[in-house]
């Protein structure tokens, strides 16, 4: 029904909006940084719409500024964005019945911030009296809201240039966004172990080149979570 579709879409928009508060300064800063590093304004905007992956974009600007080769930047993009492969596997069962054009569109919108909101909703237990909530229009609402925020804030940053003083430390809003996403979910042993080990290994591996420390931290964190889960002899969950 169109009405139900619209309400699912709007529910996705609403769920994504608080996260956009944290993404907005990040996009603004990306625009400012891209201009500051000497990129043409059009290229900064194109990066946000074509790549549409914040941490990879920041990394690319940094590496370009330092004169790195295109090959290194492409390799680093692959490594930093490997996590999207996992997000994609994770949402795949829910989008499987959709026609191809929906899969392509939702894949394009599958950012960290959209994934966090979408998977939380899709995995939450069904509420009595409400239809099953794994709705692709919810995904579309959340994804498009983040997309619009990212494009507009990048554009604002590009055109404002270096008007924003660095002393405002707006980059910290990104970490705060991640904190707001992770901390409320730390309610069981395996997840807590994954977060603790992930954070610790990331600190130890911070000096590793090309964000490899981040990938290593993610793998160690997940391994620690699985180990704790096995020790707890959790009953096997049926495949989703």
């Amino acid at each position: 029904m169109p009405d139900e579709g619209r309400s699912e879409f709007l529910a996705g928009v609403r769920a994504e909006l608080p996260i956009c508060l944290g993404v907005l300064p990040f996009g603004l800063i990306f625009g400012v940084v891209a201009i500051g590093a000497g990129l043409p304004p059009g290229l900064g905007l194109a990066m946000s719409s074509i790549v549409f992956a914040g941490s990879a974009q920041f990394m690319a600007v940094q590496l370009l500024h330092g004169g790195a080769s295109a090959l290194i930047i492409l390799a680093a993009t692959f490594v930093i964005n490997l996590r999207h492969l996992l997000y994609s596997f994770s949402v795949a069962p829910y989008v499987q019945p959709l026609p191809g054009r929906w899969k392509w569109l939702l894949a394009y919108l599958l950012t960290d911030e959209a994934y966090a909101v979408v998977i939380t909703r899709f995995q939450s237990p069904p509420v009595p009296g409400r239809p099953p909530s794994a709705d692709h229009r919810f995904f579309l609402g959340a994804g498009l809201t983040l997309w619009a925020t990212w494009q507009l804030s990048t554009a604002a940053g590009v055109f404002l240039g270096a008007q924003i003083p660095a002393s405002w430390s707006l980059d910290f809003a990104l970490s705060l966004t991640f904190i707001a996403l992770v901390v409320p979910g730390l309610r069981d042993g395996p997840t807590i172990a994954a977060a603790l080990v992930g954070g610790l290994v990331a600190v130890l591996g911070a000096a590793a080149p090309y964000h490899l420390g981040l990938i290593l931290a993610a793998l160690c964190g997940v391994a620690a979570g699985l180990a704790v889960e096995r020790r707890g002899r959790a009953p096997a969950e049926p495949a989703a």
């Binding site: 043409p40 941490s55 994954a194």
Partner: protein
């Protein structure tokens, strides 16, 4: 098109492929169950790996003291997030705490 534009197109293609391929083909090449269970912990592990270095490291050195405003503000924000589950409140509390701590320490 100049080389920079091709670089952006290449980055976009890599990113899009990583986001799309499992959605298209996961029914043909499914993940082993252990990886599937591991997926549940990916957000906590990755996001924590992004947060903790930003809170603890100053110029590559671990700084655990009251002289580290990001650590103080981050811990407060984590407390707010735990109690309220509210993203906007967490952001406001964390940014205000950071500015206050930086002002006091300056």
């Amino acid at each position: 098109m100049s080389g920079l534009w091709w670089l952006v197109v290449g980055m976009g293609a890599i990113t899009f492929a990583l986001r799309l391929l499992p959605i298209l083909f996961s029914d043909r090449a499914d993940l082993p169950p252990i990886l599937r269970r591991g997926l549940r912990m990916v957000p906590a592990a990755v996001l924590s790996a992004l947060i903790v270095p930003d809170l603890l490291l100053r110029d590559g050195q671990v700084v655990v003291s009251a002289a580290n405003p990001r650590l103080l503000a981050g811990l407060l924000a984590a407390l707010v997030a735990w109690r309220t589950k509210n993203i906007a409140l967490t952001l406001i509390a964390g940014m205000v705490a950071l500015w206050l701590a930086a002002a006091v320490l300056a």
